[in-house]
């Protein structure tokens, strides 16, 4: 970067940016050392090291049950939202879709509509359909919440993908279905997988709808956390929060690797890197 005409101003701006970074990260990261503190009162810095709260989590059947329930709901929603969303993205990009504008509006619907509104509405209907506290109920709700992100991720992958390759497949005699499985899908696969990852994280972290449609014994991890925060801030929560943060870091790294894979494929398809006469 060139020397700025106003070095003091630039330094102030940089300092401000890094201060904001600290503000963004600190509250989440400060929990990590605190979760290893031995005392029932969370302190920073912790005065000692103990795995006590982690053990407590792993011994508590209610925590484990909530975790597994969330995993189940997350996996099902991820698969469901990825399937449904990829098909829709294909129709939007490659199809002639009647009422396209309306469908695009419906795609962003679950993002625009506040989750609390959606949660209460789902609660009302799910209660009548006996879907509250069921895996099916959660899978349906979380699939809808994750769909916009899946559709946009796959759309981005499809737009980056060179549509001429599909035409080349057709000219080679592959029908649209075989063309999709032999050419399109392998090339947008990283985008589809990262969409599934998004969907899983969204479902796994989803708190508001879970708050309303959980059952007494069938609740998700966020709902269990919500209850625990509301009643007593136990240090077990700090251990759970730490594990969730680490999981998020892992998911982000995976997502980043997938994004790189996408870019490499797009570059390879564009014939870059090989164009030296």
């Amino acid at each position: 970067m060139r020397a700025a005409p106003n070095p003091a101003g630039r330094m102030a701006l940089n300092a401000a940016a890094y201060a904001v970074t600290v503000f963004l990260l600190l509250p989440t990261l400060i929990i990590i050392p605190m979760s290893f503190g031995p005392e029932r009162f969370l302190q920073f810095p912790p005065n000692g090291f103990s795995m006590r709260w982690y053990l407590e989590y792993f011994r508590d059947e209610e925590w484990l049950r909530a975790t597994f329930f969330s995993l189940e709901a997350g996996l099902i929603s991820a698969v469901g939202a990825t399937l449904v969303g990829t098909l829709l993205a294909l129709a939007l990009v490659r199809g002639r879709l009647p009422g396209r504008g309306l469908i695009e509006l419906l795609v962003v619907g679950p993002v625009i509509v506040p989750h609390v509104a959606l949660a209460v509405a789902m609660f009302l209907v799910f209660e009548q359909l006996r879907l509250t506290g069921t895996l099916l109920g959660f899978a349906m709700a979380h699939t809808v919440l994750a769909l916009p992100f899946v559709v946009f991720t796959v759309l981005a992958a499809l737009y980056r993908f060179d549509a001429e390759l599909e035409r080349a497949a057709l000219s080679c005699g592959a029908g649209p279905v075989r063309g999709f499985f032999h050419v399109t899908l392998p090339l947008i696969a990283p985008g589809v997988v990262s969409a599934a990852l998004f969907a899983f994280v969204i479902s796994f972290d989803e708190a508001v709808v879970s708050f309303f449609i959980s059952g007494l014994d069938r609740k998700t991890l966020p709902r269990k956390m919500f209850e625990d925060i509301d009643y007593n801030i136990s240090p077990t929560l700090a251990a759970v929060a730490t594990m969730l943060t680490l999981l998020t870091i892992g998911a982000l790294l995976l997502g980043y690797a997938l994004k790189r894979a996408m870019e490499r494929r797009a570059a390879a398809a564009a014939g870059e890197g090989g164009d030296h006469g």
């Binding site: 005409p5 106003n6 101003g9 701006l13 401000a16 940016a17 970074t21 503000f23 963004l24 990260l25 509250p27 989440t28 929990i31 969370l42 302190q43 920073f44 098909l87 829709l88 294909l90 129709a91 490659r94 199809g95 002639r96 009647p98 419906l106 619907g109 625009i112 509509v113 506040p114 989750h115 609390v116 509104a117 959606l118 209460v120 509405a121 209907v125 349906m140 809808v144 769909l147 992100f149 946009f152 035409r167 649209p176 279905v177 990262s194 998004f198 972290d205 708190a207 956390m225 919500f226 925060i229 509301d230 801030i233 929060a241 969730l244 943060t245 998020t248 998911a251 982000l252 994004k259």
Partner: protein, 288 residues
């Protein structure tokens, strides 16, 4: 006149029938799990126990509820303003960084974005509660004699919400700023513009779409936010989402909750229609 050549393909694209078939699972889900519940709830608010706008009138007439709504608007506005002030320098420095620096800053924005809202809210509670980290340090440093009341105050709600929603402000501004070549500011300064003038005349107008998009996203999300205000604000700083929850779970008054949701929805949809070009979901995906 136009005869489709096959069920699947019409020229370069899938035929309308095949396209609809691809969209069918989505349409089914969105109708059953999205439109139908919302319609049922709104129906409840308009027709039960008798048809009319009585629930809406009550929501807008009774001072208790009006106060909640005004507080919601006030907090959402404060959160948006605070997030904008915090996001600008970060987005600017990000847009002018490369390599490792950019990766670190981007990670700092993306990690919170994808960390559970509950984890982040919980962190703020640990920091702000009566015997929390902030009070421990304030006393240790001798700045205060006894713990301050930080939790369940409006500034605490604003701060925590701004923290939770900040990535939604940073990302759109960042992508707008990234699109401005550095040569533009150089050119402006070569042409005699001061740093401030080049900001005002060049940077700000070009960044405005990103700023609008970020402000809209944060404001919309803040209006309907549930987890953070419910836990950090408590009943004393009740916002509309908490009020809806209370009506449903404690009063079992679905019609009134429906009316509150109706008002919230009307507000959100109005803003979305006005600023529909600024609703850019693509800015938040494909980044991680």
């Amino acid at each position: 006149m136009r005869r489709p050549s096959s069920f699947l393909l019409a020229g370069r694209r899938y035929s309308p029938a095949a396209s609809l078939l691809l969209a069918a699972p989505f349409l089914l889900l969105i109708v059953v799990v999205f439109l139908l519940p919302l319609a049922t709830l709104l129906h409840e608010s308009l027709f039960l126990p008798s048809p009319g706008l009585q629930h809406y009138e009550r929501a807008l007439a009774e001072p208790v509820y009006l106060r909640v709504m005004l507080r919601t608007l006030r907090i959402a506005a404060q959160v948006t303003a605070l997030a904008l002030v915090l996001a600008w320098p970060l987005a600017w420095v990000m847009s002018r960084s490369k390599g490792l620096g950019l990766a670190l800053l981007a990670a700092a924005v993306l990690l919170p974005l994808w960390t559970s809202v509950l984890v982040r809210t919980y962190a703020w509670m640990v920091l702000l509660q009566r015997n929390g980290v902030v009070n421990q340090w304030l006393q240790k440093l001798g700045l205060t004699d006894e713990p301050l009341k930080l939790l369940y105050t409006e500034p605490a709600v604003v701060l925590a919400m701004a923290h939770v929603l900040l990535p939604f402000m940073v990302l759109p501004i960042y992508s707008a700023l990234k699109g401005i070549p550095e040569d533009y500011t150089r050119a402006a300064q070569m042409l005699g513009a001061s740093a401030w003038a080049s900001f005002r005349e060049v940077i700000w107008p070009l960044a405005l779409p990103g700023v609008t998009s970020g402000c809209l996203m944060v404001f919309l999300l803040a209006l309907g936010f549930f987890v953070t205000p419910a836990l950090i604000g408590g009943p004393q700083q009740m916002m509309i989402a908490t009020l809806v929850s209370q009506q449903v779970r404690e009063m079992l008054d679905w019609s009134f909750a429906g009316a509150l949701v109706g008002i919230l929805l009307a507000f959100v949809l109005l803003l979305t229609v006005i600023f529909r070009r600024a609703v850019r979901l693509d800015r938040f995906v494909g980044q991680g």
